[in-house]
């Protein structure tokens, strides 16, 4: 009983206006690749993200954690402007990727999404062949000059996600016939086939069994050599396993961001501690 009361108090405190953008920890990094400064997102009257400032460097995996509806997915979707598809969404603030303002007027969304790939919660391969799934991105962006190059891209991408050995005899069968974990790896292969610089992952393992999850986590470890990876997850163990840094969101605010080890062993903010120890969220 007493714990519940405490949580309610805490939530009230926050909405009653603890000073905003008081992110604890280190939101800045030495050589930032992605820089979000004072980002606000609202859907109509709902203020989903409040003044979030966060920097992400190359070759790191950063995990976004927090209770449901805290805005971590919304923040993720700002980074490749997937929020554009939601009509009521309004984004303010500045987001730079490689020193380029992605919300600038002259920014082309299509080329942005080629540079910032995304993997979704539910595996969503196209109802086409495995080959066509992976080849789709390179095809529309004209990355391959001929069939051999395209074959090469497809093979390399499937190889990197460890799927090639499993599917090389049935590349032309439909991708939706694969198991859930294979489908998700196929989606990752599809994403990396266009060689993005950042990969956004929105709870990529929430629909998968533990073995498939472990497979994806290993994959994330390997991929971070070449890509900056931003992963939203509900599993704190997963955040601890795969990420170098972790950011904790609550009610649209970025409460704390720091080295993953420090977040999980020695959180600075009371809300972070409550969430991690399971007293809220």
């Amino acid at each position: 009983m007493s714990t519940d009361g405490e949580v309610e108090m805490t939530l009230e405190d926050v909405s009653a206006g603890v000073p905003q953008s008081q992110t604890v920890g280190s939101a800045q990094v030495a050589s930032p690749f992605v820089q979000a400064h004072g980002v606000n997102v609202s859907y109509g009257d709902i203020h989903a993200i409040k003044n979030v400032t966060l920097e992400i460097s190359r070759n790191e995996v950063i995990a976004l954690i927090g209770p449901s509806g805290c805005g971590k997915s919304t923040f993720l979707r700002c980074l490749n402007r997937m929020n554009d598809t939601i009509e009521s969404a309004r984004v303010t603030g500045k987001i730079l990727i490689d020193d380029q303002d992605i919300y600038a007027r002259n920014m082309d969304v299509v080329s942005l999404r080629a540079r910032v790939g995304m993997v979704f919660q539910k595996p969503n391969p196209f109802p086409k062949s495995i080959y066509d799934n992976v080849a789709y991105g390179p095809r529309i962006h004209g990355l391959a000059d001929n069939r051999a190059e395209l074959d090469d891209i497809v093979h390399v991408s499937l190889e990197r996600v460890g799927l090639l050995a499993e599917v090389k005899d049935r590349l032309h069968e439909t991708g939706t016939g694969l198991s859930g974990g294979q489908q998700q790896r196929l989606c990752i292969a599809r994403t990396i086939a266009v060689s993005p610089e950042v990969i956004l992952m929105d709870e990529p393992c929430s629909a998968l069994d533990p073995i498939a999850t472990a497979r994806i986590e290993d994959l994330i470890d390997e991929l971070c050599e070449n890509f900056a990876i931003v992963i939203v997850t509900h599993s704190m163990q997963q955040a601890a396993r795969v990420s170098q840094r972790t950011a904790y969101f609550n009610l649209g605010e970025l409460i704390e961001v720091d080295e993953t080890d420090r977040i999980f062993t020695n959180p600075q903010h009371r809300l972070t501690e409550d969430y991690i120890t399971g007293r809220s969220g």
């Binding site: 997937m82 979704f120 969503n124 529309i140 962006h141 439909t174 939706t176 994403t191």
Partner: protein
């Protein structure tokens, strides 16, 4: 304490369970009854239509030897085309019939004798003689369609037991017909005329060709207009249009248009396409326009539903790898929505093809003898032909009405079948 309480609950639950199962059984019985009710009516409908109409696909013919008498056929006696065309071919056929029944001597008797065969007989003979003048003086064995009344009698649709005055076939004619049957001169065979001819005032010559062609041309116009326009509107409204007061208004209007009585579309077609644009009356082109307008709302609504049912994850996947919105729509959403769109379109068009009210307004209810060969020639349509024939008092037109309905149903059945096949073909699993 606890056990008695549980016992009590269990008995209550049992009693309640019985009620629940009874209710379920009752509901299933209602459903089954409803389905049976519908099936019975469908069966009655089909049986009555087919039993009335199937005989229209056959026509009785009289085979009779004819002497092509030069004095009748070649009035100017020079064997020229002009002369042959003016010949008295009725006289030739009358002589041939009188030769079979020499007892028909009075004018009245001869008139009754001539009433056995269709007026088509003398035209058939004329065409043959004009095409080949060497037939002059020869004896030909002619196969003449019988008149509608004889045809009806042969098909058993005229009651012989009625008193002569209430019968369209006189006693004398009955005797002749029986004689002809006994001589094996009367036979029924497949009626090409029904499929090859346009409408006619003579029931035995009336065919559905002009109606079928009219419906077919209208179908082409509908496909060419309603499908692309409807699809484009659906894609725009579903994928690109902003959600605001204007699009809401448009949506409400489209839904309302789908419910507007079809005759209103006919009036619109009359006012706009015929009076204002000046397109010809009775033309399949105008009919197609009107029916296209009529189906547009249906196509838009069903296409939007089909597009909406494509899971958003597919759109996200495509956008996520950097497809533009157009690419997303045309490469991913449309292929998945296509089965639904095609089904909706075809069923909408099939519905429109069965419409007669709007066509009455634009003059497609006219009596069209010539088979139309283009979009602007006067034509009628199958449902209108049904309406026209249903209006005719002759017994033979009753049969033809049902036959036209059979053809129309066949048309619609074919289209619905096509919708099913296309749906099966394009459906993809995920």
């Amino acid at each position: 304490m606890a056990t008695t309480k549980q016992q009590e609950i269990r008995t209550k639950l049992q009693a309640r369970l019985r009620v629940r199962y009874a209710r379920e059984r009752r509901f299933r019985a209602y459903g089954l009854a409803a389905v049976l009710f519908g099936l019975v009516f469908l069966a009655v409908f089909f049986v009555s239509i087919v039993s009335k109409g199937a005989s229209a696909f056959r026509q009785s013919m009289l085979s009779v030897p004819v002497i092509v008498d030069a004095s009748l056929v070649d009035p100017i006696a020079d064997g020229t085309r002009a002369s042959l065309q003016d010949g008295d071919y009725d006289g030739v056929i009358r002589n041939a019939l009188v030769a079979l029944f020499p007892d028909a001597t009075s004018r009245r008797a001869r008139r009754e004798l001539m009433a056995l065969v269709s007026s088509e007989g003398s035209f058939m003979l004329r065409d043959r003689v004009v095409a080949d003048p060497s037939l002059l003086g020869e004896v030909l064995n002619l196969n003449i369609p019988t008149s509608a009344n004889v045809d009806m009698l042969m098909k058993g649709r005229i009651d012989r037991s009625l008193p002569e005055l209430q019968r369209v076939v006189s006693d004398r004619q009955l005797a002749w017909i029986d004689q002809l049957v006994a001589d094996d001169r009367l036979s029924t065979s497949f009626s090409r005329a029904f499929f090859a001819n346009g409408d006619s005032a003579d029931a035995e010559l009336a065919g559905i060709r002009s109606a079928v062609m009219g419906s077919f041309f209208m179908l082409l116009v509908m496909i060419a207009i309603a499908f692309p326009v409807g699809l484009a509107a659906a894609i725009y409204l579903e994928e690109f249009a902003p959600r605001n007061r204007w699009t809401d208004l448009i949506e409400v209007n489209i839904n309302n248009l789908a419910a507007v009585p079809s005759i209103v579309y006919g009036l619109l077609g009359l006012a706009v396409f015929i009076n204002w644009v000046g397109l010809p009356r009775s033309a399949p082109l105008v009919g197609g326009f009107v029916l296209a307008l009529l189906t547009l709302p249906v196509i838009i609504i069903t296409s939007r539903a089909a597009i909406k049912s494509v899971p958003p994850s597919i759109r996200e996947a495509a956008l996520g790898v950097g497809a533009s919105r157009i690419q997303t729509v045309f490469q991913h959403v449309l292929p998945l929505a296509l089965p639904g769109i095609l089904t909706g379109t075809i069923i909408g068009m099939a519905r429109a093809l069965g419409e007669s009210a709007p066509l009455l307004m634009i003059g497609m209810v006219a009596f069209i003898v010539d088979v139309p060969g283009s979009f602007v020639e006067p034509a009628t349509a199958l449902p209108v032909q049904v309406y026209l024939w249903a209006d005719s008092p002759e017994r033979a037109f009753v049969e033809r009405t049902s036959a036209a309905i059979i053809v129309l149903l066949g048309f619609l059945l074919f289209m619905n079948l096509l919708a099913v096949i296309l749906r099966r073909r394009f459906e993809r699993k995920w």
